[in-house]
Symmetry: C2
Subunit: 398 residues, 2 copies
Amino acid sequence: MQPERILIIGGDGYCGWATSLRLSRAGYDVTILDSLARREWDREHGLDSLVPIASMRRRIDEWSRLTGRTIRFEHVDATDYPNLCRVVAETEPGAIVHFGQQRSAPFSMIDRDHALRTHVNNTVGNLNVLWALRDHAPQAHLVKLGTMGEYGTPNIDVEEGFITIEHNGRSDRLPFPKQPGSFYHLTKVSDSDQLYFACRTWGLRATDLNQGIVYGTHTDEVASSPALANRFDYDHIFGTVLNRFCVQAALGHPLTVYGRGGQTRSFLDIRDTVRCIQIALENPAAEGEYRVFNQFTEMFSVAELAGRVSAVAQGLGLDGEIAHLDNPRTEREEHYYNCVNTNLRSLGLEPTPLSDETIAGLIRLAAEHRERIDARLIAPRVEWRPQQPRALPRQVAS
Amino acid sequence: MQPERILIIGGDGYCGWATSLRLSRAGYDVTILDSLARREWDREHGLDSLVPIASMRRRIDEWSRLTGRTIRFEHVDATDYPNLCRVVAETEPGAIVHFGQQRSAPFSMIDRDHALRTHVNNTVGNLNVLWALRDHAPQAHLVKLGTMGEYGTPNIDVEEGFITIEHNGRSDRLPFPKQPGSFYHLTKVSDSDQLYFACRTWGLRATDLNQGIVYGTHTDEVASSPALANRFDYDHIFGTVLNRFCVQAALGHPLTVYGRGGQTRSFLDIRDTVRCIQIALENPAAEGEYRVFNQFTEMFSVAELAGRVSAVAQGLGLDGEIAHLDNPRTEREEHYYNCVNTNLRSLGLEPTPLSDETIAGLIRLAAEHRERIDARLIAPRVEWRPQQPRALPRQVAS
């Protein structure tokens, strides 16, 4: 039997690259479509991955050399509809995994230009993917990366995409209310609405993976050669909170908590990300079905995470101090937060809980590359609110 | 005291023009910003208003001649950010009324190009309006036209924008779940999410008017001179259902009901539209407040409306036959539908219910302009589902 053909949009990115290698190793016939825009945004903002990453050409050659497997690469932007359609038609994919989006909330809040670029890149790209599926691969299963941030922090349990609401003696199962907290998050909500509509109207099949905040960098595949290394962002724009704390710990800098740190979010290890995608592909949505899986394994407050990293850092002989900064974002700092994540578990996901070993590994990785770290890139500079003078960091004993 | 300055985006359109004149008459200092895109789309699709409409220049001159009042006009597209900002900064508006969007569901479903144009025109325009407000008029009250179609047809009562949900022993007031039924409706949902975010984050003040389907054409102001006449769309792309039925009745053609006609929707007379906008302006949202008013006065099924028009037509000696066509849209044809509209009523709206006189007036207006009607433009040609052979009309005795 021919291996199933998979088109991975955004396969050069943090989650996309690790997933592409895992799926190739698992026997899928992988084509990556990527504009390489993320590398361009790094250059534009003077950022760089902590761990050096090879060019896409080098990455693919190395993978082929190590495993004998071919990954095809198409240097195309999903907003370029004719070329997107060409690739979909040529690939004849059984599934499309769509990671190809600008994924930083701070990037989207820099100014109107960055909000607009995020909006157009993400929502036009998503619209194009849906039309390309409709016209060139209507049976293909779309696996789309959403975010747990779409839900915001409601005062009720967060279900997986839909909730049954009783109201005035009647009842319906309806889309779970969304309260996105940045222009980036707004695009993901819009994408979800587009997907649901396309499934209802055109009979497409789609899985929307509302992913938590991903940490870690290594999967078996990316760890198998330096030329396959995955990106590791620690800067104030693309760096996610746990990765940033580990870099700060390695440098002996205070771990910077925004505000009180009661902000609770969903998290998962990148090793679970790739496993979740594989599970979704192995259990495709039915024709016309739009389903949502909440893709995370644990919930932590930012202060809890800082405490975990601090303790591990101290065990490694590092300072591990914690500092509270004025929060650049508009978000609740104390709130209820409880999210359901049973769908992926019921399909076989065995979570990798955050361990001290994982944290220590990230701190060691950062220490190993410390000469590449530009510490000026860590402090937040993007404000959610306009024209507010930024207070200097207030340091608080940990 | 200086009259309040109002910027009306999309003031050349069906609701926008009637509102501009009403607000000018009411003493506001009105500036219209419009790309005139709608006139261009008409030309592109070979459509035209049943009632001839004058150029914007002629309209404004006539209004000035009749009333001595000045309406300024800026030929600018809301997607043109620098010029939008220039106009906002120069106008220093106390309020912005934003009608400037592609407002036809069938237009947005023609093909990917029309879906994209609708998406970019509406959502980029809206994003630009929010950033322009943030940077050039943060205290101005934004009155934005949404649509009742954002909600779809849930099996519970539709509240005004938000609903209190009890779930697992906890409770929160959350955005009412949306189930938009076309790429056009998707843009309006995205706009609402953007507005809510901008109010929470930047402290903007906004009123989102989720409007029902508007019928009628005359307000006192537009009726005061032929050069002030409002557009009247009867075609399959921009014609709304009641207006279309009246044109069909005038021609002696069957009133074409899509499917069974159990589709129930919210409606209002254009005279109530202009009154609602005025009420919203007179009672502005507070700083940081995002509020939603459901702007409609009555609910009818399509079959009921056809019955009403048929009866009036027969009273005028016309045929008034009703025909059921295969439904080109993907929508429920029998469903629960009950929507709340107390906010505007509590602020003083006195509804103008649909009367036989209104229907007769629309039939007479259509008869008066019957030489301008192209009957080939009435039958639906845009299909929601792809590649389905279109059945020929099945005529059913009324």
